[in-house]
Symmetry: C2
Subunit: 393 residues, 2 copies
């Protein structure tokens, strides 16, 4: 299979946590001790598995990831924490590794107790069914309202020795930096020290998941893990090797981030908001984010309406430097605003045609400076409302 | 009529700016020179009428307000500015007052040229049809996606001399502080100096319109005007009189603000988010606002689902001090979270019943300090998406 990665095995089962009987619990196991890095939600309300994994990853080592969907084990108090710990212990016992080598992640409904009986019963089976081809099932098991599973890969080499980076993610709702509100697990057989892996992961997350938004709500469970088991057998990484690895890792996460925006809850459009000519790096990011999160811009996208007045209004309230009369806006190659003024009905009609496509770019040039940023987003549809009005029922 | 206010006349016509032929242009006229106060959008992109009215109100005096719906005259460049100026001039000529005594306000689509022929043709008719009973029609003429016109009043007295405060507003979409994204005109016959009127208006706006949100998008056209024509004949205001007037003004704006949230685009529920026990005034406001603007909280309200995990998650990402395990949440009188943990399915069922009502209160006690705030909001429905996907078509 295209996603197998040397030295990693995985499995997934239906433990009964999802009401529809789909895969909902998965295990990823590294045959060798792996260096490990993690990035976690900035939400002050952190789920029990987030708190536990922050503890377990501190030494930069891990052997296994156990993750469930269907229940976030968040806002679950001491009982939730005991459940997360118990999960790690059960996995450690069934694999013969230390509990501290097990990372735990959860996603799903907040505030309901995790049924530990269901988890306990399933873990032995998970351990038994581990295999090199299990990653695709694992990617399915972490889905919640996702409509497709998300995987990506990169192949590189150090001194002629090939290595591979394989990533999976789930997204769909409660998606907004920082950090990217989702689960993502990245596996690689490269040999790399924990500090370099953490630095590369942080750099990649910042450029990809943290540039993605579905609804502006940051989750309590966001987690990205990277495990590197060293089985590629490469020697120490040069500065150039490290740059190339970081690039590959970022590409994998960029693919996953795009998939998350494309598969945003109820999304019918994948949109990249590109803002350039901003007066500062902060302004570029803040401006792009404000547009990408505006309910009015997102509903206009859903309606295939190049309603640029809403984009101007979003920029104007973003708390950044702005000169209305210097602002240009395009949809793909079609300019709809020049110097703050509309380019007319004909341009808007052509832009509306571009918006019929599954994906397009809204680009803004503020002509105030040299700073640029991009954000991946999606539209706000009837389906988003349906999904989130009825999520728990 | 209940809304007539001594010395003020008004009228409204259908000038053809709304496609459906409804009232869309109105004039409010004070027989005597009035002291005037104004509060305007904080959006850097300010519509032409906002810029012009900021100029005209600087001296604290005004005689007339002319307002249109159907076109915001925003992002319209020098041409838009000429249009706003021309509107003020035409009104001044037909009323025999100075152009600087005319305040202009617009609301509607951004970025389309205002058809000045339609406006010019209608102004003579507007002036001719001025009457003391015209305020209700004026309130209708400023509606855009509003489903009902919004008026409120207050009666007070200074030294036994009665005075009246009458307010009108339009809201519906692009509603988010600061400042309240809407038009509101307040008329009173009290005698008051411009500085006191401005101070009272600012205080009232801050407590009411700036505590209201529909979709988190701040408009380019937000405007609140207050005109006081002094025809109540009262003498100088004591400190107590001023406090009473400010209270009355605030009550009028509070009524209007509640109506705006209740009539939010597609809203099926009017919700007051009350946050108390915050560690600072900033935290109280920021926390309440983050909950009131969360797409996930608002869709849960639409689904009548007391999904308190989303409230906790919103608080956790609000950028404020928070202790998850100290947080309590109620829907009206029903406690659903105690010390960060859910109170069980039975409590949630009772809370869900409260959420069947047209309006209810979500109250949060953070138990960290003594600061409290409230925000008026509404749910996020299929209808909001429909209205805003198809707004220009």
């Amino acid at each position: 299979m295209g996603y197998t990665t040397q030295g990693f095995k995985a499995s997934a089962v239906s433990a009964g946590l999802k009401k529809n009987g789909a895969l909902d619990l998965c295990l990823i196991y590294s045959e060798k001790a792996a260096t490990a890095a993690g990035v976690f939600t900035t939400n002050l309300v952190k789920a029990a598995p987030v708190l536990l994994s922050m503890e377990h990853i501190r030494d930069g080592k891990a052997r296994a990831i156990v993750a469930n969907a269907g229940n976030a084990n968040a806002c679950s108090g001491p009982r939730g924490m005991r459940g997360a710990r118990k999960t790690a212990e059960l996995v450690s016992r069934s694999l013969g590794i230390l509990p501290e080598e097990v990372l735990v992640a959860s996603t799903g409904v907040i505030g309901e107790p995790l049924d530990m009986n269901l988890v306990s019963n399933a873990i032995a089976l998970l351990a038994e069914s581990l295999g090199p081809d299990g990653l695709q099932d694992a990617a399915k098991a972490i889905m919640t309202t996702d409509s497709f599973s998300k995987m990506a890969r990169f192949e590189g080499a150090v001194d002629g020795r090939p290595y591979k980076i394989t990533g999976m993610a789930k997204g769909a709702g409660m998606i907004m930096p920082d950090m990217a509100t989702m689960l993502s697990f990245i596996l690689t057989d490269i040999s790399i020290d924990a500090a370099s892996l953490q630095a590369a992961l942080l750099e990649g997350v910042e450029k990809t998941f943290n540039r993605t938004t579905v609804d502006g709500d940051t989750s309590t469970n966001d987690t990205v893990f990277a495990l590197a088991n060293g089985m590629a057998g490469n020697g120490p990484l040069s500065q150039g090797d490290l740059m190339e690895f970081t690039r590959g890792l970022t590409l994998v996460m960029d693919d996953l981030a795009r998939m998350i925006a494309r598969d945003g809850e109820g999304a019918t459009k994948f949109v990249t908001v590109e803002l350039k000519g901003a007066a500062s790096a902060h302004d570029a990011l803040q401006g792009a984010r404000t547009i990408a999160n505006s309910a009015l811009v997102k509903t206009a996208i859903y309606g295939r309406d190049p309603n640029w007045g809403r984009i101007m209004a979003a920029l104007g309230r973003a708390g950044i430097s702005m000169d209305e009369s210097a602002t240009d806006i395009c949809v793909d190659d079609v300019q709809i605003v020049k110097g703050g003024l509309g380019c007319g009905k004909k341009a808007e009609k052509t832009a509306a045609k571009r918006m019929e496509k599954d994906s397009f770019v809204i680009s803004i040039d503020m002509h105030l400076g040299t700073f640029a940023e991009k954000i991946y987003t999606c539209d706000l549809s009837h389906e988003y409302v349906s999904i989130n009005a009825d999520y728990r029922t």
